[in-house]
Amino acid sequence: MRRNIENLEYYHLVNSSKTHILSRAHKHCGGTTTDIHSLMGCMFGYQKNIISEIEKLAELVRNNITNKTIMITGGSSGIGYAYSTALLNLGNRIVIVSKETAIDKARELADTYPEFAENVKGVIGDVRNRISMENAFNEASAFSPTGILDIIILNAGIDAPIFEAENIIQTNLMGVIYGIELYVKQITNNLTTPADPTKDYQIIVTGSVASFIPVDMNLSPGYDSSKAGIAQYVRGMRPFAVRYNYRINAVCPAGMVRTRLTQPFMDTPEKLASVTAYQNAEGRGGIMEPEQLVPGLLEVLSLPSYNGDIIAVQPNLGYPFRLEERDPANSYLIYGIYDERDSPATKEYIDYVINMYMTPPSA
């Protein structure tokens, strides 16, 4: 269970190469204009066996993450926009949901990639508002040929100073929970039947470093709280996800990303200098560009072993990193590091309860 230094480095080596090649493959098959080579830092080198492993992964992305209908909240800027661009270029149908600029940004994408112009749509919706979210969700579902979305990416989020916590929690936590509830109800018929196992329905949530540790320099406990909350929601939902045949994961940028959310930290040259120095100090890996998170997303989307996981993505340091699974013999000895998921007693207990929710398919 304990990782020593050597295999920690090996882990980083594998993962950094993986994401690197993944992004190459992604560029190769999708043809995006983003030069991911230049964005990738911290390369350790290649090994033959790793490369073959990675090629398999790239193949998975090419075959699986295509022809899907994907809703992305907060898709009009920052990380959401990077996700939209990448997934559109892989041949998916994209619905961008955002509060203000969804339609403009969808048009922008359609103009930039005219071959995919039919595949992108913008919907105005406010995730904080349950009714608005519901309308946006219905509109997005209608864009799918099957009437059901294949993947939803709940990414809209805000930051604010201390003592404006209520709005942050409503957007970053409740807004995401609204989306999850709507989607899971749709695919499981109000929890009465498991979803179609052949479809690989998925929910991706955008977390943050704050999902793991409070971001002290941000000085916004409400933000920390919302992101830790949504990550724990994802981990806590895993028993349902496993039994109802869908996947839910949180992709957590493990550091500062240059987006509108972090803009207040760098709106003047001095602030930018100070924050850059801070982010490069003490092994933080520097400020990331939104495009750097795409390989992490693709890895989570294409590998079915990710479920109920919170994945820290910081390509400059070479992870995707994922919470470890727990020792089945011990229940919760080390807090925050392990899940309860693997304990036999837990499994038995949950199976019993969930059976009460589910009506058997034959009945």
Binding site: I177, P221, Q232, A254, E282, Y335
Partner: protein
């Protein structure tokens, strides 16, 4: 063969070794009995104050863990304000009858923590009960559980936003809207009730929104620490690391079969069994009296013998092991925060730390 004369000596030695082990074990038990009882006495001695010299507000103080807290703090000399949605007055009367000599030291206020206005008026009323007009300790303990897809909004509002209202009101009061640090000698503090779910999702509970709310409030406590350090107050979360007999867990044990199931589950795989609310009190007293706790989450499970706390991080490394360490001790973080807080909030205060 085994019992032949030749082996007699071996059997004698084996018996002697076992006897020595038994003696050592009994000595160990005696030692731990003495040690732990002394530790408890020390805790009570440290937590006892001059009667009526400090005032504490406890939300959700009318049942479960909050009631155990109210009872304990009242007997230790605190003036207690019990805040709850329905039964605050009745429960206060019950406590007054239990401790007739302390009956002037406790009042009950009806309020709903989910509602900002209701919380605000309760907070004002509670402050007025304090001789100084300022509460010395607030314990934000009111919480609910609920079902997936049904109660998420209510759970988040009660367990997460409710305590945040309380924290904001209190911190604004003691720091004059963040414009100056609080009086250091007063030892103002906030205690939040977390849960096992603050650390790991409680899978058997099957309520991801509960997990989210408790992890959220845990991270809030850790995240507000830079402020707490610089504004001279303390904030900690006491997290019962397991199931406690309360109203919240009653649905798990409302029939004999369910009770048997929950009991078996909680006693398996090193969970330590179901706790009584009174068993959480020593953990709370530890936080209350030990000034080194700040921005900490404490897992309390006396049946397993721990009070666990998130470790401090190596000051040269940022975030290598997620969830285990805080950023708090990093040099660059300290510098960055000092600058931000003293330039933005405490403009008129001299920064003595640099």
């Amino acid at each position: 063969m085994l019992f032949s004369k030749k082996n007699k000596r071996i059997w004698f030695y084996a018996g002697a070794i076992i006897a020595i082990f038994i003696v050592f074990y009994l000595l160990y038990r005696l030692y731990s009995y003495l040690f732990y009882s002394r530790a408890t006495q020390n805790l009570i001695q440290n937590a006892s104050i001059k009667p009526g010299s400090k005032t504490v507000m406890i939300t959700g103080g009318s049942s479960g863990i909050g009631y155990a807290y109210s009872n304990a703090l009242l007997t230790l000399g605190y003036k207690v304000v019990v805040v709850s949605k329905k039964t605050a007055k009745e429960k206060v009367k019950e406590l007054q009858e239990k401790h007739p000599n302390l009956k002037d030291n406790i009042i009950g206020i009806i309020a709903d923590v989910r509602n900002k206005k209701s919380m605000e008026s309760a907070f004002k009323e509670a402050s007025a009960f304090s001789p100084t007009g300022v509460l010395d300790v607030i314990i934000l303990n009111a919480g609910i559980n609920g079902e997936i897809f049904k109660d998420a909004e209510n759970i988040i509002q009660t367990n997460l936003v409710g305590p945040i209202y309380g924290i904001e009101l209190y911190v604004n009061q003691i720091t004059n809207n963040l414009s100056r640090p609080a009086d250091k000698d007063k030892g103002y503090q906030i205690i939040v009730t977390g849960s096992l779910a603050s650390f790991v999702p409680v899978d058997m509970n099957l309520s991801p929104a509960y997990d989210a709310s408790k992890a959220g409030i845990g991270q809030y406590v850790r995240g507000i620490r830079p402020f707490a350090d610089r504004y001279n107050f303390r904030i900690n979360a006491v997290c019962p690391a397991g199931m406690v007999y309360t109203n919240l867990t009653a649905p798990f044990i409302d029939t004999p079969e369910k009770k048997a199931g929950a009991y078996l589950y909680q006693n398996s795989e090193g969970r330590g069994g179901i706790m009584n609310p009174e068993q959480i009190v020593p953990g709370m007293l530890e936080v209350l009296t030990n000034k080194t706790y700040n921005g900490d989450l404490l897992a309390v499970q006396p049946n397993l013998g721990f009070i666990h706390r998130i470790e401090h991080r190596d000051e040269n490394k940022a975030y290598i092991e997620y969830g285990k360490y805080d950023e708090r001790d990093s040099y660059a973080t300290k510098k960055f925060i000092d600058y931000a807080i003293f330039s933005k909030y405490m403009k008129n205060v001299n920064n003595n730390q640099n």
